[in-house]
Amino acid sequence: MINPTVDLVIQFGLMFAIGAVLALALMAVSHRLAPTSRNPNKGQPYECGVLPQEDSRLPFNVHFYLVAVLFVLFDLEAVFMYPWALALRSIGLLGLVEMLIFIFILLVGYFYAWKKGVLEWE
């Protein structure tokens, strides 16, 4: 019989391998099957379009970054809730209080971010 851990890891590896192969295969297939005719004019903007003048990668509004940081922090908070939810039955009321304190401290940060206007778009 195969070891359950090994089985799991093989499944995990297969999932990612299939995911990667599938993505690459789809790209390859569409690349092969799509009718292509190469011509420099194809890359140009159509008729009345304006010629691109600068790089498409523009400097970014810092606001996106702040929202992303907040997302990561609350994501981490959510991560702590999985073991909490599973263990709640045996840790009882104490566990509930602990999690409430944890959430409350982060809520202070949330309140602060809200009042500072981080969640608003100008």
Binding site: L94, V108, F111, K115
Partner: protein, 485 residues
């Protein structure tokens, strides 16, 4: 967990609540941040007072995660005092740069919570979380002046070296965990006693020495210190030079005396080597500095060198004399060094755009600002170790302990380097009193209010410890020894 457990961390609870409160009220405050400053200063005083009131109690809490004993109390009071002085130094200085924000004080409080936990921790988990809380808050404080390139540089350098140091410490501690199978200091100590001082434990010891050496800026892991101190806002730099450093030493003493007691011979030699190197680097590089803030950074490295000599002596000796002397030295150092930084903050507040901290700016200060010059002289004398000041008492006890541990040569070396340090400390005094200023200075209004209070506290501390060291020495003696309570 019981309600009694909360008493053990009561000083930290006060700080956490006040920090959260400062964050909540901050968005409602306009230019005037008096409310935030009041909350934070009150909380620090209360935290220190509660910790002081708990002196003499011994109990463990949260399943031996943290303890309450005189050792933890000593450091908690010390951190609260350093915090109060830093808070008093800050408002005018920050306002002069238009960065007077409530977050600053909240971050300071959270850093102090982390430091308190480091001193009180008896478990690697609690220690590391405390260390990270202190470190993350410190990085942010270093970069608080976001519109100034030097402040950004300071934050980045502090963050990179700090993260690196944390990783090295953590690797050493994870090895220790692997060898001992426990995270509790006492259990690890017992488990490692059984195995004896193996090569593997020596490797873990070396890694922890390197990692913690980074944190307290021992040479050759000191390179970040001058740049970070120069770039960080001056009150923050002053705080870095005493607070996190003392917290680092509190953790070093605990880790090496309890967890890694088995490798005493290894770490004492490592610390002796680092002490020689650190004293040499700190003092010799300080000689060349024209910028007083950088000079103080190198001087803080030199003082870490003396403390490292004490650590080496502690590993060699049978008694706790060196450990008690280290506690005394840290307390004395807190007042004199914060005082020197307070003078810098004071001068900079009066002239944010012009004053560049150069030695030349101190020329003729005695005539422009006699009080500042007199106080700066006091702090410089104390840092040199002139009798009658706190610095002398600290050095006297520390070097005495080093001699008693049969390391007379190391003590002689430390005294020689102290003599070298006299050159760069007394040079500042010479400039203030006997040099003509190079440029015209517009008369500035005298700095009053909180900053004056901070200076008064520092000066009082320096003189009090210098003249009547008895009570502080008694506190250091009773604090050091019984780590588990």
């Amino acid at each position: 967990m019981t309600a009694m457990d909360l008493i053990v961390i009561l000083p930290e609870l006060i700080l956490v609540v006040a920090g959260c409160l400062a964050l909540v009220v901050e968005p409602y405050l306009k230019k005037d941040k008096t409310a935030a400053v009041t909350i934070v200063a009150t909380a620090l005083v209360a935290s220190g007072a509660v910790a002081f009131g708990l002196a003499g109690e011994t109990r463990a809490a949260f399943g031996n995660m943290v303890v309450l004993n005189d050792y933890a109390v000593f450091f908690k009071v010390l951190f609260a005092v350093a915090g109060v002085i830093t808070v008093l130094m800050s408002p005018r200085y920050l306002a002069a740069y238009d960065r007077h924000l409530g977050e600053y004080y909240a971050l300071l409080l959270f850093a102090i919570v982390g430091m308190d936990i480091m001193a009180a921790a008896r478990d690697l988990m609690a220690f590391y979380v405390g260390l990270e809380l202190m470190a993350v808050s410190s990085y942010l404080l270093a970069g608080f002046f976001r519109y100034h390139a030097r402040s950004n540089e300071a934050a980045l350098k502090y963050f990179l070296t700090g993260a690196f140091a944390s990783a090295i410490t953590l690797y050493g501690l994870s090895l220790v965990y692997g060898f001992a199978g426990a995270t509790n200091y006492q259990q690890i100590g017992q488990a490692l006693q059984a195995t004896g001082n193996t090569t593997a434990i020596a490797l873990a010891t070396a890694l922890v020495v390197v990692g913690t050496g980074f944190k307290v800026s021992m040479a050759p892991f000191h390179m970040w210190t001058p740049d970070v101190y120069q770039g960080a806002p001056t009150p923050v730099a002053g705080f870095f030079s005493v607070g996190p450093k003392a917290a680092g030493f509190s953790a070093i003493l605990m880790l090496f005396l309890t967890v890694l007691d088995v490798s005493r011979s290894t770490w004492s030699i490592l610390f002796i080597v680092l002490a020689v190197l650190t004293m040499a680097v700190g003092n010799l590089f300080a000689l060349a500095q024209k910028n007083i803030k950088r000079m103080l950074a190198y001087s803080s490295i030199a003082h870490v060198g003396y403390l490292a000599a004490g650590l080496g002596a502690l590993g060699r000796a049978d008694d706790d004399l060196a450990g008690q002397a280290i506690l005394l030295y840290l307390a004395a150092y807190t007042f004199m060094n914060l005082g020197a930084f307070a003078i810098l903050a004071c001068l900079k507040t009066q002239d944010p755009a012009g004053h560049g901290y150069t030695l030349a700016e101190f020329a003729g200060l005695a005539r422009r600002a006699p009080w500042a010059a007199v106080l700066m002289s006091l702090f410089m004398f104390s840092l040199t170790g002139i009798p009658g000041t706190a610095g002398f008492i600290g050095k006297f006890y520390l070097f005495n302990a080093v001699v008693r541990a049969d390391l007379a040569w190391l003590a002689v070396l430390a005294v020689i380097f102290s003599a070298v340090s006299a050159y760069y400390y007394l040079r500042v005094i010479m400039y203030m009193f006997f040099r003509e200023p190079e440029r015209e200075y517009v008369p500035r209004e005298a700095i009053g209010g909180p900053l004056a209070a901070a200076l008064a506290l520092c000066a009082a501390g320096v003189i009090f410890i210098g003249l009547l060291p008895g009570s502080l020495w008694d506190a250091a003696v009773s604090s050091f020894g019984n780590f588990f309570g």
